[in-house]
């Protein structure tokens, strides 16, 4: 007999007494501040209660008090690991309402930034996931440091482009804020080639590794039906056999100009999602190379430079703009009222919807698997709690 309640799904397990264990908001396998109240029978988890909200910073209310020129600098704080894609959703929503055209060069630069950010985000995912599974004193830390070493290269690229390493403010309504400095393309190409080689190294370390496969094969299986029922997106969806990628299904910002593959795996376990993300690495690097090869000349913004805070006024209207972030569909629903500030902003965080799958897939696994599953779901709590 399985009882299902909105907050908790419990698996009927004919065991002895049940133990409630709290994987508290602070735990060493930190993906942010996440509290999971696990109900255990022996070593097996029979129920998961996810408690979120520890990182709530009222972004949606904040967006009502900041103008369209100011907010993109703050938008990076939602998904801080993939800051570029967070800003992307907001400016696209504003541009959709105001029917603002974005010059071709700006579109290409946006794509390049988003794809480089995807690589950086996946590098962080791989590092932290292996560290969760392997321990800070062990093989996990080794892979973590390799991934961070490569991520630093991408952050260096962003630093020479924008000036900052994490909260960029690169996107603005009408285009992007910065153009490429001299010599940046050469450095970018070198970095992309280097990262391509290093990803080959990670694959050789992990792909057939029996320890790694023992930890993630068959663990956290999201069946195709479940994937289509629950509102997950991104690599979780593609790892369960659904070939859905917004860059292909609903192209935006010139994604239709680029050739890239969308990886799909059918088994739906952690290993499948790992495979999907590893292929996404290479595809993103492919897109970056195509952008660099075909970057058109032109202005980087259709709006003049910022001269006053209320410069950008968006006429009345509402729009929902979504982009394919590293974690899934990041969406921004804006209601504009003709002034320089939006009337309402609703942020669809990819991780928030992805977390809804946890009560379905965790019960039945051992405690050690909870960590592996959480890592492969790859939540970022800035997005979840906003």
């Amino acid at each position: 007999m399985t009882t299902a309640s909105p907050a908790r799904l419990e698996v009927d397990y004919a065991g002895s007494e049940r133990l409630t264990m709290n994987m508290g908001p602070q735990h060493p396998s930190a993906h942010g501040v996440f509290r999971a109240v696990l109900t255990l029978e022996g070593e097996t988890v029979v129920g998961v209660d996810a408690v979120i909200g520890y990182l709530h910073r009222c972004h949606e209310k904040l967006a009502e008090t900041l103008t369209y020129a100011q907010y993109p600098s703050i938008a990076s704080k939602t998904d801080y690991v993939a800051a570029m894609t967070s800003e992307f959703a907001y400016v696209r929503a504003a541009e959709t309402i105001g029917k603002i055209e974005v010059p071709k060069r700006a579109q290409y630069l946006r794509v390049m930034a988003a794809e480089l950010q995807r690589v950086a985000s996946h590098l962080l995912w791989l590092g932290t996931w292996c560290m969760d599974m392997g321990g800070a004193l062990g093989g996990g830390a080794t892979i973590f440091l390799y991934c961070i070493r490569e991520r630093e290269l991408i952050l260096d690229l962003f630093e020479s482009l924008v000036g900052a390493r994490l909260l960029y403010g690169f996107y603005q309504v009408g285009g992007v804020r910065y153009d490429l400095p001299a010599g940046w393309t050469a450095t970018c190409r070198e970095t992309v080639d280097l990262i391509d080689r290093r990803i080959g190294e990670y694959e050789s370390m992990l792909d057939d590794n029996p320890f790694f496969m023992a930890r993630c094969q068959g663990v956290g299986v999201i069946s195709r039906e479940l994937a289509e029922d629950v509102g997950i997106s991104g690599p979780l969806l593609r790892g369960s056999g659904v070939a859905w990628d917004l860059r292909r299904a609903d192209p935006y910002s010139s994604y239709e100009d680029f050739q890239f593959l969308v990886p799909v795996e059918s088994s739906g376990d952690c290993f499948a999602r790992y495979g999907v993300r590893m292929v996404e690495f290479r595809e993103s690097l492919k897109i970056v190379r195509q952008v660099l090869d075909g970057l058109p000349e032109g202005p980087v913004s259709s709006r003049p430079g910022l001269k006053s805070v209320a410069q950008t006024r968006i006429p009345k209207g509402e729009a929902y703009a979504r982009i394919e972030g590293p974690r899934g569909e990041v969406g921004c629903y804006l209601t504009a009222d003709g002034s320089a500030k939006p009337y309402r902003m609703k942020w669809r965080g990819a991780s928030f919807s992805n977390l809804s799958v946890l009560p379905h897939i965790i019960p039945g696994h051992k405690v050690a698997d909870v960590v592996a599953i959480m890592g492969s779901v790859d939540p970022v709590f800035g997005e979840v709690d906003r």
């Binding site: 392997g134 996990g140 390799y146 070493r149 320890f211 930890r215 405690v367």
Partner: protein, 326 residues
């Protein structure tokens, strides 16, 4: 030199040497691991971090000794000592050069196995005495794991014993004069691999260190220990790893044999032991860990039958050779 004086001096020297080497072996591991991760290890404390172990030891000595209120005091306080003593005793039968050792018993290796099995008692006492759910859980897992892997460890180590024909460690070392046992065709290599695997698992090193998994059981059975007691437990762990490295170097890598004059023997021995230690460390820092049920499955379903078969095969080979085989 009168016998009684030698009996007093030798253990004293060996004990101090072991403690000294153990503290610096932690630094070696940290630097080695750091270099594998594209960073440098301790660097600031002393030139290239050479004073780091001393700083750590001083820090641990000066730390407050916090005892949990509901802990079982006698058990809690005794556990580090019960854990440490066997880890020190294993050095008793290891000869560092022909004739240079504390006690070259004629059942040397048996003594090693027996004594190193005693530290499980200390481990469990630590987990029990802490009065902490997670420490107890981890201690139970550790006992499970160590016992499961002690068997393949013994069988893998018995292969050189069979090949040498004696339980006395100096005999085993001497029998490798011509050919180190690790180079013995097929049997030597397989036994070496099994030995290394069992060592890694029996000492709770990654990839078999689920009981210290920071994600759920931070520091495992040692979680309630701080200060000098924690230092003793760390000392015991690293002494055990070092002892197994020495044993491995002796059983498989020819102990003190090496080019150069006789008195360089202990130096070669140390080098080989460091090689074994670095091998274990290299494995530790390369792999993610596996779950406890997978660890036990690996031992009982794979490693134990394999080492048993290997032992049988070695016996067959030895008898065949003794009967004048080609």
């Amino acid at each position: 030199m009168p016998e009684s004086l030698t009996l007093l001096i030798a253990p004293f020297v060996v004990l101090n040497a072991v403690i000294g080497i153990v503290t610096y072996v932690t630094l070696l591991e940290r630097k080695f691991a750091a270099r594998m991760q594209s960073r440098i290890g301790p660097y600031r404390v002393g030139p290239h971090g050479l004073l780091q172990p001393i700083a750590d030891a001083l820090k641990l000595m000066m730390k407050e000794d916090i005892v949990p209120a509901a802990a079982d005091r006698p058990v809690y306080n005794l556990a580090p000592i019960v854990f440490l003593l066997p880890c020190m005793f294993i050095f008793a039968t290891i000869p560092f050069a022909p004739g240079l050792g504390v006690a070259d018993l004629n059942i040397g290796i048996l003594f090693f196995f027996a004594i190193s099995g005693m530290e499980i008692v200390g481990l469990f006492m630590a987990g029990w005495g802490s009065n902490n759910k997670y420490a107890l859980l981890s201690a139970m897992r550790a006992v499970n794991q160590v016992i499961s892997y002690d068997l393949p460890f013994i069988f893998a180590a018995l292969t050189p014993v069979l090949l040498a024909g004696s339980l006395r460690l100096s005999d085993i070392a001497a029998a490798q004069d011509g050919l180190w046992f690790v180079f013995y065709p097929v049997i030597g290599q397989l036994a070496f691999i099994a030995f290394v695997l069992s060592t890694v698992a029996a000492e709770n090193r990654a990839p078999f260190d689920i009981l210290e998994a920071e994600s759920e059981l931070v520091a495992g059975f040692r979680v309630e220990y701080s200060g000098m007691k924690f230092a003793l437990i760390q000392l015991g762990e690293y002494a055990h790893i070092l002892g197994s490295s020495f044993l491995g170097a002796l059983l498989f890598l020819g102990a003190w044999s090496g080019p150069g004059p006789e008195w360089l023997g202990p130096g070669w021995f140390l080098l080989k032991a460091m090689f074994m230690f670095l091998l274990v460390t290299w494995i530790r820092w390369s792999f993610v860990r596996i779950r406890v049920d997978q660890i036990l499955a690996l031992s009982w379903k794979a490693l134990l039958p394999a080492t048993l078969l290997l032992l049988l095969a070695t016996a067959v080979v030895v008898v065949w050779r003794a009967n004048g085989g080609a």
